[in-house]
């Protein structure tokens, strides 16, 4: 569990520089040096007058399994919002064309597309996929590697899925 700095809150009082035993808080990029930071030390977190330092857990406990019906309704909602997002995405292409569309409707459609994605992500999070390190996520990666669903316009991301699985299992 290492410390991290939220630059939006940091008021440059620099108390963290005095209290850190390993100089992990003294960097040029504004962020804590995670490699130098001592696991769970939290001296800087407690000392910071602006609450700009916080601890990032190295491992999370496994989330409780979802009720079957709750997961089912959330996944159906996710799929529906994803379908609408795609339909609106096709319409954005039409609206951007000078023949069919107008600048206003192109903006409205773009806003709807983004909004639909955020709602779909929220449903995905609550259905099972909140934590990248959870069993649900790792099982999904395995399932995708096995089924290799086809999509046009790109090569199946096998290398990416394998590397992601490796990094997340290690966490």
């Amino acid at each position: 569990m290492h410390a991290a700095r939220n630059l939006r809150l940091c008021s440059k009082d620099c108390v963290c520089l005095f209290v850190c035993p390993t100089k992990a808080t003294d960097t040029e990029n504004g962020q804590v040096d995670f490699a130098k930071c001592l696991d769970g030390c939290r001296l800087c977190v407690d000392a910071c007058p602006s609450h700009a330092l916080y601890l990032v857990p190295g491992d999370y406990s496994e989330p409780a399994a979802k009720d079957g019906r709750v997961a089912e309704t959330l996944l159906a909602l996710l799929e529906e919002k994803a379908r609408e997002e795609r339909a609106i995405h096709h319409a954005v292409a039409d609206a951007s064309s000078p023949v069919l569309g107008s600048p206003t409707s192109a903006l409205i459609l773009k806003a709807l597309e983004k909004s639909l994605r955020i709602v779909a992500e929220d449903a995905a999070r609550e259905a099972a996929y909140m934590l990248p390190q959870s069993k649900a996520t790792l099982n999904l990666i395995d399932q995708l590697l096995e089924e290799r669903p086809a999509r046009s316009g790109g090569e199946f991301p096998e290398r990416e899925l394998r590397e992601l699985k490796e990094l997340l299992s290690r966490a």
Binding site: A76, A82, L168
Partner: protein, 154 residues
């Protein structure tokens, strides 16, 4: 799941960014991008895309109304039955955002170019709430996120 993979992985990408894991986030964004591609018509599930053709704003408004009485109602009922506060929170915010999506689509269909006169359109990155005005609201009325969480659509 068929079309939802892209949102699952864009959500995981954002989660990795918040955990300060840039490499994992980058991989999730790439995987999400792959699943933005079209399902080939001959592939299993390709037929599911029949209704994913361009949708006009009036059709979309009607779709939101049916989502409210079907998907959101079912999710709320299941979440209440299982006493799952997280799922219930999602269903409540989602249904409020769904109502705004419906209203924006219907007003846009009716008013055309005049809807955005001297105004901009903003989306809350936390919950998806859509706001039309000169500046983003100080606080999101749905999820209470502060104004810096709003993105201006351009």
């Amino acid at each position: 799941m068929e079309l939802g993979y892209s949102a699952v992985f864009s959500n995981l990408a954002k989660a990795c960014e918040k955990q300060l894991r840039p490499r994992e986030a980058e991989l999730c964004w790439k995987i999400s991008g792959y699943f933005d591609g079209e399902v080939p018509a001959q592939a299993p599930g390709g037929g599911a895309l029949q209704d994913a053709r361009p949708m006009d704003l009036v059709d979309f408004g009607a779709r939101c109304a049916s989502d409210e009485s079907n998907h959101f109602a079912a999710t709320k009922e299941a979440a209440e039955g299982a006493d799952d506060r997280g799922a219930l929170r999602m269903a409540v915010w989602g249904s409020k955002v769904n109502a705004i999506q419906k209203s924006v689509a219907e007003r846009s269909a009716k008013l055309g170019e005049t809807l955005l006169q001297d105004k901009s359109i903003f989306v809350c990155e936390a919950c998806g709430f859509i706001f039309i005005g000169q500046e983003a609201p100080e606080v999101c009325p749905v999820c209470k996120a502060p104004s810096f969480r709003f993105s201006k659509i351009s």
